[in-house]
Symmetry: C2
Subunit: 305 residues, 2 copies
């Protein structure tokens, strides 16, 4: 296990113009760990209830994901999210959020997790993210991802998390909301001032931007014929991103750029089907093909004035 | 003269959080021709009134812009647009649009313009764009740009224009509005079906996407510390784009990609100051520097899984 991922493992009920998923495998930690499993050995810290299907456990195990940190509360029910998307597949509309076992969740890291060199703090309460950080020993890289709900409800704790991580991975709207900055470059600089060495801003169909103090990298999303369900796209990005970094010898600008490519590729698989079906099916060949596409999509020919 | 540009030449009154411009030099044809003048020899087809300052004429002449097609209606007043931007510098809010001499404008091409090999149909009524096309002899390349107002008021004529051009250059929102497509790739494919060989979709701070039937190229906008006034950014893009193509030996994918770089660079100058001040001041060195920045911002390091 070389990438510790904390976040939700959930059952999702999703409706999109392309179909419906009923209590399917979902949750930030699920999407992120499945994406990361293509590059590294992730382990999950989360909780599920007694109703969590054995088939989902088996799917995660088949992907080589370490579940030593997955608590099973036999008397409780699994976190359930229900929502729908309109035809533009933009923001999700939530119908119901049943926290269930997540309401009282206290992350308790098994000993085997404490030396994890890479940590992804997925979308859960910042207090729990901080709790996880207190339990790990000097990780090489800590990344936090998307904090939408907590930016409005617990902005101070979110700020504390941002001060303790190496990378902030955040949506465009969240970056503006948290910083109050009018432009993304200004928002990124404001976040960098809190301490992280890089800020990754996720822009959905508009791709992603990687900001360092004096560096900037931009990558488009892969244009797809069919976008079936965008749930988990951001988590899949973060998982591919951190999974790729787990294999990097040096954590330099080039390593972060490769990680942005990996994240973008995993997000493109994620949205092609419900749950993490397509991401699970992706082969090494599929991944290399999409990475090559991104290279072609951004190729600038020789140029002179 | 190798690039004919039809559009408005106007006086603009603009307010942004960074200052105010009072009856400054503006208009789609102005911005586009100033940008194009860095790469080619543009000529303008437009009309101004007797109130149009001599200084503005001189500025355009100094940039080597051919004004044989600029009608001066001594008894009329110049088209005047007045508007403001909020702190995010997003969409312009119009305070007043005084068409004045543009209300009765009939483009009449001087003989020296009829053989123009490249034609940019800037943001004016599609009927006038079609009128210009009837007066030119077999141009090598015809491009139309941004049609916001006319997409809702004269969608049929806009469609006629799209069917007669080689390149449609259009804003993200316009592309969605005209095609009704939910995603940009779908909107681009719908536009390509009308006949143009390439569709350029301008996304403001999110950069630009170039779609062919089987090709896709994406370029970010250059992140800038100060964005003073975004008026004319799209026109500057179109001008740089067509100006760069005017020098291409072959009009192939690589030539179009280079043109997207040129357009992006010119738009980045445009927004740094009011009117076309910064775009006028740009040197060859400035242009090459920004083109090099774009190359670095999109550089993908070698990558393997």
């Amino acid at each position: 296990m070389n990438v510790l991922i904390v976040g939700s493992v959930a059952l999702d009920t999703v409706e999109t113009p392309h179909g419906r998923l009923e209590r399917g495998l979902g949750g930030a930690a699920t999407y992120a760990s499945v994406a990361a499993s293509h590059f590294s050995h992730p382990g999950i810290v989360a909780v599920v209830g007694g109703d969590f299907p054995r088939a989902h456990i088996n799917l995660l195990k088949r992907r080589g994901i370490d579940l030593a940190g997955l608590q099973i509360d036999a008397n409780g029910k699994t976190f359930h999210w229900s929502g729908y998307y309109e035809s533009d597949m933009g923001a999700a509309h939530t119908r119901a959020t049943e926290l269930n076992v997540f309401a009282g969740f206290k992350p308790a890291l098994p000993d085997s997790y404490r030396a994890a060199p890479h940590v992804l703090l997925g979308n859960i309460a910042p207090a729990l993210q901080l709790d996880v950080l207190r339990q790990v020993r000097a990780p090489r890289l800590v990344l936090c991802d998307t904090m939408n709900y907590w930016i409005s409800s617990a902005p101070r704790e979110v700020g504390q998390v941002f001060r303790k991580v190496d990378i902030v991975c955040i949506n465009e709207d969240e970056a503006r909301q948290f910083t109050g900055a009018a432009s993304l470059p200004a928002a990124a600089q404001a976040l960098l001032k809190l301490g992280p060495q890089r800020v990754v801003i996720k822009k959905g169909a508009n791709g992603v931007a990687l900001f360092g103090k004096d560096t900037f990298f931009s990558l488009p999303a892969i244009p797809l014929k069919t976008v079936r369900d965008t749930t988990g796209a951001g988590d899949s990005f973060a998982g591919g991103f951190v999974g790729c970094l787990a294999r990097a010898r040096k954590l330099d600008e080039d390593a972060f750029r490769r990680a942005v490519v990996a994240g973008t590729v995993m997000a493109s698989f994620c949205v092609e089907d419900f749950s993490c079906r397509r991401t699970c099916r992706a082969t090494k060949r599929d991944i290399l093909k999409r990475a090559a596409l991104l290279r072609e999509y951004t190729r600038i020919p020789k140029w002179k004035v």
